[in-house]
């Protein structure tokens, strides 16, 4: 196990690289869901405005 985390001495480079990629993947999931939620809220607001105008 120790050996695995040590990555043959390259731990300082391998793990940050994986961490950055993981962060990008997770952020993308978060951003995509947030963008969808925002669009839904925006659509709801527009529908409401149209309802009021009628």
């Amino acid at each position: 196990m120790r050996e695995f985390f040590d990555m043959g001495g390259y731990a300082a480079f391998v793990w940050p690289a994986y961490a950055v990629t993981l962060a990008v993947v997770l952020l993308n999931i978060f951003w995509a869901r947030r963008a969808l939620a925002r669009s839904c809220a925006e659509a709801r607001r527009r529908l409401q405005m149209q309802g009021e105008r009628r």
Binding site: G8, V20, T21, V24, R46
Partner: protein
């Protein structure tokens, strides 16, 4: 030729519903492929005979680099389709691509630099591939900047589509010129190992990661696409059902 099937397929409510339905079918296989690829790449694959365990950065760097280019091409193709046939959904796809592509280009740059330190002894080498990747990041940033600068969605769609098409014509020229420039100024870089056929235990995890990232991109795209489709529809009755649900 009868195109009505196509128009039905590309109609916003249909696309919205389809995207929602398809997302899990891409998301879960993506997760599976990536996990299997990680296991294979970090545990099962033997250390490289030259680079030791350092080469394992390949399993995140190569998929990120692949994403950066593949997403750009996807973006440009759908932008061109939207521009030529005036299909709003195509513009929505292009708009969804940019932030995904930009973030993975960033990841490719960072992982490339982290790989470079042990291999070249420096974080940044003016290697043609890394340089092209950096230019690609600027192309993405320009695309997103142009989009953000134009308030009207339709005009933003069409203007940024022109930029994406111009960009995709330029990417090979830029890559060629950077390679040409690089070959003048330095000997072929250390990175360019004589690549014998990669042994199977190394290759399979890489392929799994590439596939997993691609599936992941499609899943992300489908989620973002729904939002972009909603933003482009005005006063359509189907939105009420979707939003209130």
């Amino acid at each position: 030729m009868n195109w009505s099937w196509f128009h039905r397929l590309a109609s916003p409510p249909h696309v919205y519903a389809l995207a929602a339905r398809l997302t899990p079918w891409f998301a879960w296989p993506a997760a599976l492929c990536i996990l299997a690829g990680l296991w294979g790449g970090l545990v099962l694959a033997p250390p490289d005979y030259q680079q030791g365990d350092g080469f394992r950065i390949l399993y995140v760097h190569a998929p990120s680099a692949w994403m950066s280019l593949m997403v750009y091409v996807t973006m440009a193709v759908s932008a061109a389709v939207g521009l030529i046939w005036r299909i709003k959904v195509a513009h929505a796809v292009a708009a969804s691509c940019a932030p995904i592509g930009a973030s993975f280009t960033f990841a490719a740059l960072v992982t490339g630099a982290l790989w470079g330190q042990p291999m070249w002894g420096t974080y940044w080498e003016w290697d043609p591939r890394l340089t092209s990747e950096l230019v690609l990041l600027f192309l993405y940033l320009g695309y997103m900047g142009l989009r953000a600068g134009i308030e009207d969605t339709q005009r933003a769609d069409r203007a940024s589509a022109v930029l994406a098409v111009v960009g995709v014509v330029n990417v090979p020229i830029i890559h060629y010129s950077v390679t040409w420039w690089n070959s003048l100024h330095q000997a072929p870089s250390v990175m360019r190992l004589a690549k014998p056929a990669m042994p199977l235990p190394m290759l399979v995890p890489l392929l799994l990661m590439l596939l997993g990232f691609t599936l992941f991109f499609v899943a992300l795209l489908l989620v973002r696409l729904r939002g972009e489709v909603l933003a482009r529809e005005r006063a359509a009755s189907w939105i009420r059902e979707v939003v209130s649900a």
